[in-house]
Structures are given as structure tokens and as C-alpha cells.
């Protein structure tokens, strides 16, 4: 991870406290990206509380929708948020926004729970998950624009496609349930999800602005 960039961001964060935001990078970061940076840098518990209050209930709801039961959802939520606190200093706004970063940790925690055996799970800051732009364009700008585009395209999806997209994140058990309920082979269910994701990818490529 590029510590220099993060250092610069933090110092512009410090300066902006009084004088408004001046740095371009700073402008493209979301409220929660900067909140995470603050938690990492200052171990700021009140910032962590706001982050928790925003994300934990959303994460619980998301986990319930993708197949976890109530108690598993709460447990994964808590383990994820503990990890967010402990790893906040490794958060790199070049590679992911706060919600993507938290989603990735939750994904890892859900796997841990299923396997009962921890492995050195990949960190989203790992260059594995993001290709440095070949030109010297701004990583943070590229990343925030990608995420903004996804949000905008999601907003305008027909409900049927939106449902399919969400089901890409279902656990195995939930995929089987759909297959049973719709009387379709599991392979067909998965195939529809894949096609919905491909359609979304095309929509992202076509999306302007």
C-alpha cells in the first residue's frame, strides 16, 4: 500500500477541519472513507461509533438477505466490525471505498465461519484486487468513479435484474432454495445470475457520467 498517499490524505484531512476541503482527492472520498482513515490514524472511538452505527445495521440486513440467519448475521457483523477497528490503519482509499472494504471483510468472516479454520485471507489492499492504472492517472479518482457508476447503474435497474444481481451473493443453501422454489436446475439458476452480472457489466461500460 502507498503510505505516502495516505499520509498526504490524512494531513489534508487535518487541514480541512477548519478551512474546508481543498484537496481534489479529498473531495472524491466519501464521508465514510475519511471516517475510516481517521479511525486508522487516531484510533478515534467516536468516529468508530458513527461508522458502526451506519454500517453494522446495514451489514446485518445485507447478511440476512443473502442467507445468514439472525444469530449468524449478528455474529459476522460483530466480527467484521472488530476487524474494521483492528485493521483500519491498513485501509487504503486507493483500492476500495469504505463499503467495499467492509463488504470484503464480511465476506472473509462469513467464509471463516463456514470453514471454522482461518487462513491468511486476502486483504483488499492487496494489489491482487486492483490493477494500477497504466497511465499515471489518479487511483483514488478512478476507484471512486467506478464505485459511483455502480451505484448509479444499480439505482436504475429493473427490479427483476436487481433481484438476480443480489442473488449472486447468496450462500449455497439459498441458491438451492431458489432452484427448488422455481423448479429449475441449480445450474440454470447460476447461469441466470451470471448473465445478469454480464448484463450489468455491459451497462457499466455504456454508462456515461
Amino acid at each position: 500500500m502507498n503510505f505516502r498517499v495516505v499520509e498526504e490524505l490524512i494531513s489534508s484531512l487535518d487541514m480541512s477541519m477548519g478551512s474546508g476541503f481543498s484537496n481534489d482527492n479529498q473531495n472524491s472520498l466519501s464521508e465514510w472513507d475519511t471516517c475510516l482513515l481517521k479511525i486508522g490514524k487516531y484510533r478515534d472511538k467516536s468516529a468508530f461509533k458513527s461508522l458502526y452505527e451506519h454500517f453494522a445495521p446495514r451489514l446485518k440486513s445485507f447478511l440476512l438477505r443473502i442467507g445468514s440467519d439472525e444469530s449468524a448475521a449478528e455474529e459476522i457483523c460483530q466480527e467484521t466490525m472488530i476487524m474494521v477497528w483492528r485493521r483500519a490503519e491498513t485501509y487504503n482509499p486507493e483500492s476500495a471505498g469504505a463499503s467495499t472494504w467492509i463488504f470484503t471483510i464480511a465476506r472473509n468472516k462469513r467464509i471463516d465461519k463456514l470453514r471454522k479454520d482461518s487462513r491468511p485471507l486476502p486483504n483488499i489492499n492487496d494489489p491482487l484486487f486492483y490493477q494500477k492504472p497504466i497511465d499515471k492517472s489518479d487511483d483514488i479518482l478512478q476507484r471512486t468513479e467506478e464505485e459511483k457508476k455502480i451505484k448509479n447503474v444499480l439505482k436504475n435497474l429493473p427490479p427483476e435484474q436487481a433481484k438476480l444481481i443480489l442473488s449472486a451473493y447468496y450462500d449455497d443453501k439459498s441458491h438451492r432454495k431458489i432452484a427448488e422454489e422455481t423448479n429449475l436446475p441449480l445450474g440454470t439458476v447460476k447461469s441466470r445470475i451470471r448473465l445478469a452480472i454480464n448484463r450489468l457489466r455491459t451497462q457499466l461500460e455504456d454508462f456515461e457520467g
Binding site: K45, K49, Y52, E53, F55, A56, P57, R58, L59, K60, S61, L64, R65, C77, Q78, M83, W85, R86, A96, S99, T100, W101, I102, F103, T104, A106, R107, N108, R110, L114, R115, S118, R119, P120, P122, N123, I124, L128, F129, Y130, Q131, E146, E147, I150, K151, L154, I165, L166, A168, Y169, Y170, P185, L186, G187, K190, S191, R194, I197, L200, L204
Partner: protein, 219 residues
């Protein structure tokens, strides 16, 4: 398996990687693949960002009373069992892509390999679960793996060098998929040793996760 079906299956593997439902062997195979293939890395990045956006869009549902306080108490107790796991990346096998390093034995040491034919050695990788079997194969330039069929569906990733079989030519980062019963005879390229990672779901056909993925191709 033809290129179109292979592409379809790789796309499904990437989605299942993002949602975290793959068995460990395939998860490691996919991670290794995306560390070598920018297009797949881009797909994973998109799928993780999409997960983040869906999380962000979820209607909040309150956690049970006192959850935050409980969390802070655990944090203040200071016990961090994950730290060791995260920092424990092997220094061996610097030639292998990072995701594989912790699992393979030193590929430079002859002791890590078992000779199973002319110009052909293997190394079994144990993922500590009962899912199928995973092996590294090392094929000398121009040598071949004798024509064979498969007991279970097999996903093969080229780590270095390249090979050609009845279905196509594969280079570093490429995935080749063999369905149960498919027969092929891979021949390593003349210009160098070929190392591949092969995950076979084993004799229990079409019941494991890979089999279920493959169901869609034979439906």
C-alpha cells in the same frame, strides 16, 4: 472443454469467489488466476465493489441491544487471534504467485516432487479438508502427460510455461477445464518447463460445488 464453456465456467467461478462459497482449493486457484490475469482481476474488483454498493443500499436493521458496548469491551480486552494468521505468509516459493505460497512445498527442492513419468512430476497439496484432490504438476519441455480421463471434474491453472491439448493452447494464468470422463493429452511447450495447478473434485462426481457448477453446462 471448448473455449466458450470454459469462459462461462470461469465467470461462474469468479462470482462464487466474490460471494465466498468456493471450497478452499478452488478459492486459492481463483486467487492465483486473478493475480496473473488482469481481466479477471478487474471482474473481481467489480464484483467486490458491487457487494459494497449492495451493502451500502441495504435497509438498516438494528442489532440486539448493547451490541456496540459488547464489541468495545471485546476490543478493549485486546485479544487479537487474527493477527498471527494475517502476518504468516511464507518466505519460500518466491517464484510462485503469492496466494499459493503458503500451501505448496518449496518447488525448487527435488524432495518436494514425486516423479510419475518421463519428464513428469507431481506434488500433492493438502488444504486440510475433504474436498477432492489438488496437485501441482511439473512437465518438462516437449513432454506430455499420458492420455488420461478424469474421475471428477478438474480445473487446471497454468502457473508457468504452457501446454497444448486437444482443446487448445494454454499459457500462464490460463484455466483449462476437464469434465468427468473427458480424455486429453496435454503436451508441454518446447520452450520451457510447464507447471500447472490442478484441482480435481475427486471421485464423488457432480455432488461437490464444482460438480454443481458444471451442472449448468450439461443441463
Amino acid at each position: 472443454m471448448n473455449k466458450q464453456n470454459t469462459l462461462t465456467l470461469v465467470e461462474t467461478l469468479l462470482i462464487d469467489y466474490a460471494n465466498g462459497t468456493l471450497p478452499l482449493a478452488l478459492e486459492v486457484l481463483v486467487e492465483t488466476h486473478i493475480s496473473m490475469n488482469p481481466a479477471s482481476a478487474k471482474s473481481i474488483r467489480m464484483l467486490l465493489q458491487l457487494g459494497g454498493a449492495l451493502l451500502e443500499n441495504s435497509e438498516p436493521i438494528s442489532l440486539s441491544e448493547g451490541s456496540f458496548e459488547k464489541l468495545m469491551a471485546e476490543i478493549d480486552s485486546g485479544f487479537d487471534k487474527d493477527r498471527e494468521v494475517y502476518n504468516n505468509v511464507s518466505n519460500d516459493n518466491k517464484l510462485l504467485p503469492l496466494p499459493l505460497r503458503n500451501y505448496a512445498q518449496d518447488i525448487d527442492s527435488p524432495k518436494s516432487w514425486k516423479r510419475i513419468g518421463i519428464g513428469l512430476s507431481e506434488q500433492a497439496i493438502n488444504f486440510g479438508d475433504d474436498f477432492g484432490s489438488t496437485k501441482l504438476y511439473k512437465i518438462s519441455p516437449g513432454c506430455s502427460v499420458p492420455s488420461h480421463s478424469h474421475d471428477g471434474n478438474e480445473v487446471t491453472l497454468v502457473l508457468s510455461g504452457g501446454f497444448t491439448d486437444e482443446y487448445g493452447t494454454y499459457g500462464p494464468g490460463d484455466i483449462s477445464i476437464q469434465e468427468t470422463g473427458a480424455v486429453h493429452k496435454p503436451v508441454a511447450d518446447e520452450d520451457g518447463e510447464c507447471i500447472v495447478l490442478a484441482v480435481n473434485e475427486g471421485p464423488i462426481v457432480l455432488t461437490g460445488p464444482v460438480g454443481r457448477l458444471l451442472n449448468m453446462l450439461i443441463k
